[in-house]
């Protein structure tokens, strides 16, 4: 029950006026970028990172975290009203949410997704409060071999979950690892892949890469071919439906929440895939599977709960092990390091005030989103009427300013432009970016872990399989790796072709 005491203390910090303000700012911005196409939460966190340099870490992290879960609420609004997923984990919200809106049940769809998201958010805050400290204590016994194997497992999972082609996802993982070695080698001090360019010696900056891959490249993709969305014109009323609607939604919300949170905890899974699985589960369990995709409230409720819970889940490895499970949490990790904190198993012990304040603020933020989201929907609909041509100019400008302010150096801007171009081309060639980002992020931790492991073991690779926890992680990775052979899933294929 010690966690509960700490959590209450966290609330006293999170409820201070300044922190409340930054929480509100975070969730509002999160909702806004969730609504807007072309600027996702990752790019937003990346471009706001420099503005928090001179701030206290507590309000900064409260705000940045607010963006991450606030965007999930915003994404559902546009999915339901316009059939546009503001961000990828809302893809499945479109399926039934938009159909419900077309049947005149837009209000109920928005209501169910807000309440489902809130329940999931609440659960994941509690899960985070109880699991993260325990996991951190256990993690103190982990050495470099375990960390290495855990990261290998994460990379295996993210590649396995590729939607188009596993081979191509593995290629992106390899590329990400190679890109992560650009700059000074942390052990020998040799310069790698710098080709005499001075500004490459410090390596490539993650926020610049994220803004390029997830901000610039999306704008490039849409330049000149963006079609104006059909804006929902019907009246949005009756958010809370009737008892039957809620009876149908309760169990899907519960299942979606549990699935999302516990899958989100695993590095590499992220929030898109759990929603996919939870949708399939609901469809299988339903007595009327034919209604799915035609406005089934169960499908919508499960998916919405699931994507919010998954975001909470991704905070567990971040705050207890210092291991990011996605590009978004990697940025938060970068933020922790910039504030001079020490992410890893000791974070919760060394900075309890920060950890518990952030956890409590996530609950506060979810309450804010529940209260504010529904009344603000007319405003979000208005925001969507801004012509995309102006919006894309603003997105590019914000990315430019954000990249420049990282180090007040134009070279970060050039890195961002290059990665924007690379991201655009790779995406057109049907390569997926999440494995590349995760590998880039884990690379700087994976390589030293591997090399120090070998130094400890005096050159024997056996160290990774003789230590039980490390062996377990590698076993999971191995099973994930060979499972396509057993299930005859084609190597060239991905999840999209299944089901």
């Amino acid at each position: 029950m010690e966690s509960l005491d700490y959590l209450l203390q966290g609330f006293t910090v999170a409820l201070q006026p300044l922190n409340l303000f930054y929480c509100l700012l975070g969730v509002t911005m999160g909702t806004l970028v969730g609504v807007l196409p072309g600027l996702g939460p990752s790019a937003t966190i990346a471009l706001l990172l420099p503005t928090t340099y001179h701030m206290d870490p507590v309000p900064s992290l409260i705000m940045l975290a607010g963006i991450s879960y606030g965007s999930m609420y915003g994404g559902s609004t546009t999915s339901i009203l316009l059939n546009i997923p503001g961000e990828p984990s809302s893809l499945l919200t479109c399926l039934d949410g938009y159909q419900m809106a077309r049947q005149g049940r837009a209000g109920l769809a928005l209501g169910v997704s807000a309440v489902g998201s809130f329940i999931a958010g609440t659960f994941s805050v509690l899960g985070l409060a109880f699991i993260a400290p325990t996991l951190a204590r256990m993690a103190l016994g982990l050495g470099p071999p375990e960390y290495f194997s855990l990261m290998v497992m994460g990379l295996t999972i993210v590649s396995y979950l590729a939607r188009v082609s596993m081979v191509k996802a593995w290629m992106m993982t390899a590329l990400g690892l190679i890109i992560s070695t650009v700059g000074m080698d942390p052990i020998t001090g040799q310069a790698r892949f710098v080709f005499g360019i001075r500004s490459l010696y410090d390596g490539l900056t993650l926020p610049a890469i994220m803004m390029g891959l997830f901000g610039v490249s999306e704008v490039l993709e849409n330049i000149g071919k963006y079609i104006k969305p059909e804006i929902y014109k019907g009246k949005i009323t009756n958010f809370f439906g009737n008892r039957e609607d809620w009876r149908q939604s309760t169990k899907p919300i519960a299942r979606g929440t549990l699935l999302g949170f516990f899958m989100g905890v695993f590095p590499g899974i992220g929030s898109v895939v759990p929603t996919l699985i939870s949708y399939v589960i609901e469809k299988r369990l339903s007595k009327h599977p034919e209604k799915f995709g035609k406005g089934a409230i169960e499908g919508l409720a499960a998916v919405e709960a699931c994507n919010n819970a998954a975001v909470g889940g991704t905070y567990v490895p971040l705050l207890s092990l210092g291991i990011p499970s996605s590009g978004m949490t990697a940025l938060l990790l970068a933020a922790l390091m910039i504030y001079g904190l020490n992410p890893g198993p000791l974070l919760i012990r060394e900075s309890p005030r920060l950890f518990w304040a952030v956890v409590a603020s996530m609950y506060v933020g979810n309450v804010m989103l529940l209260v504010l989201n529904l009344p603000l929907i007319p405003l979000w609909v208005k925001v969507l009427k801004i012509p995309y041509s102006y919006l894309s100019a603003m997105i590019l400008l914000f990315c430019l300013i954000g990249a420049y302010s990282l180090n007040n150096n134009p070279s970060d801007v050039i890195v961002m432009i290059l990665f924007g171009t690379l991201g655009y081309i790779l995406r057109e060639f049907r390569f997926e970016l999440p494995p590349l980002v995760l590998a880039f992020v884990l690379g700087p931790m994976l390589e030293p872990a591997f090399r120090t492991s070998l130094i400890i073991s005096k050159g024997s690779l056996g160290i990774f399989v003789t230590r039980p926890i490390s062996a377990l992680f590698l076993l999971v990775a191995f099973i994930v790796l060979v499972s396509p052979l057993a299930t005859k899933k084609r190597l060239g294929a991905g999840l999209q072709q299944e089901d």
Binding site: V216, Y390, L396, S405, I417, Y424, G443, R451, G459, S460
Partner: protein
């Protein structure tokens, strides 16, 4: 170009890239198992990338058609122009200063990439430049570069 053909070209391209990566890594020194060198990880990752590239190339035979890459209506002119303007912004921001660079960037982007009229582009650019200056410089203290007029 369809996805199948592009996958073949990608296989070839990344194979060449990975050979290059392996050669560079080899020069950095692979070290030994007792103490792996700076080139160890990139070298073996390069080998994996090379294997995967070959696999991608081979798997295109017998693969189903998955549509095409680069939509026909891709606006190459707009994309190249937008990138060029961004690059120009990066190069001039420290010389011209934040406000002027932003003004020129937004105006040019709206006028030439998005085909807005001069009036709309200019007015939007002016408002944007001043508003972002207030937000980023005065409020958030981002220390954007001052230009010839101290703005």
């Amino acid at each position: 170009m369809n996805v199948k053909t592009s996958d073949r070209w990608n296989g070839v391209f990344w194979l060449i890239m990975s050979i290059f990566i392996c050669v560079e890594s080899y020069r950095l020194g692979l070290g030994s198992y007792h103490s792996p060198g700076a080139g160890f990880l990139p070298f073996w990752t390069g080998v994996i990338l090379a294997t995967l590239s070959v696999l991608l190339f081979i798997l295109t035979w017998g693969a189903q058609e998955q549509g095409s890459v680069f939509a026909e209506k891709t606006q190459w002119r707009s994309i190249v122009l937008a990138l060029a303007l961004m690059l120009a912004y990066a190069l001039v921001i420290e010389k011209l200063g934040f406000v002027i660079s932003t003004l020129l960037f937004v105006a040019a982007l709206l006028r030439f990439v998005e085909d807005k009229g001069w009036y709309a582009a200019g007015a939007t650019a002016l408002i944007t430049a001043l508003a972002t200056y207030v937000v980023f410089e005065l409020w958030l203290q981002s220390q954007l570069p001052p230009g010839i007029f101290g703005l």
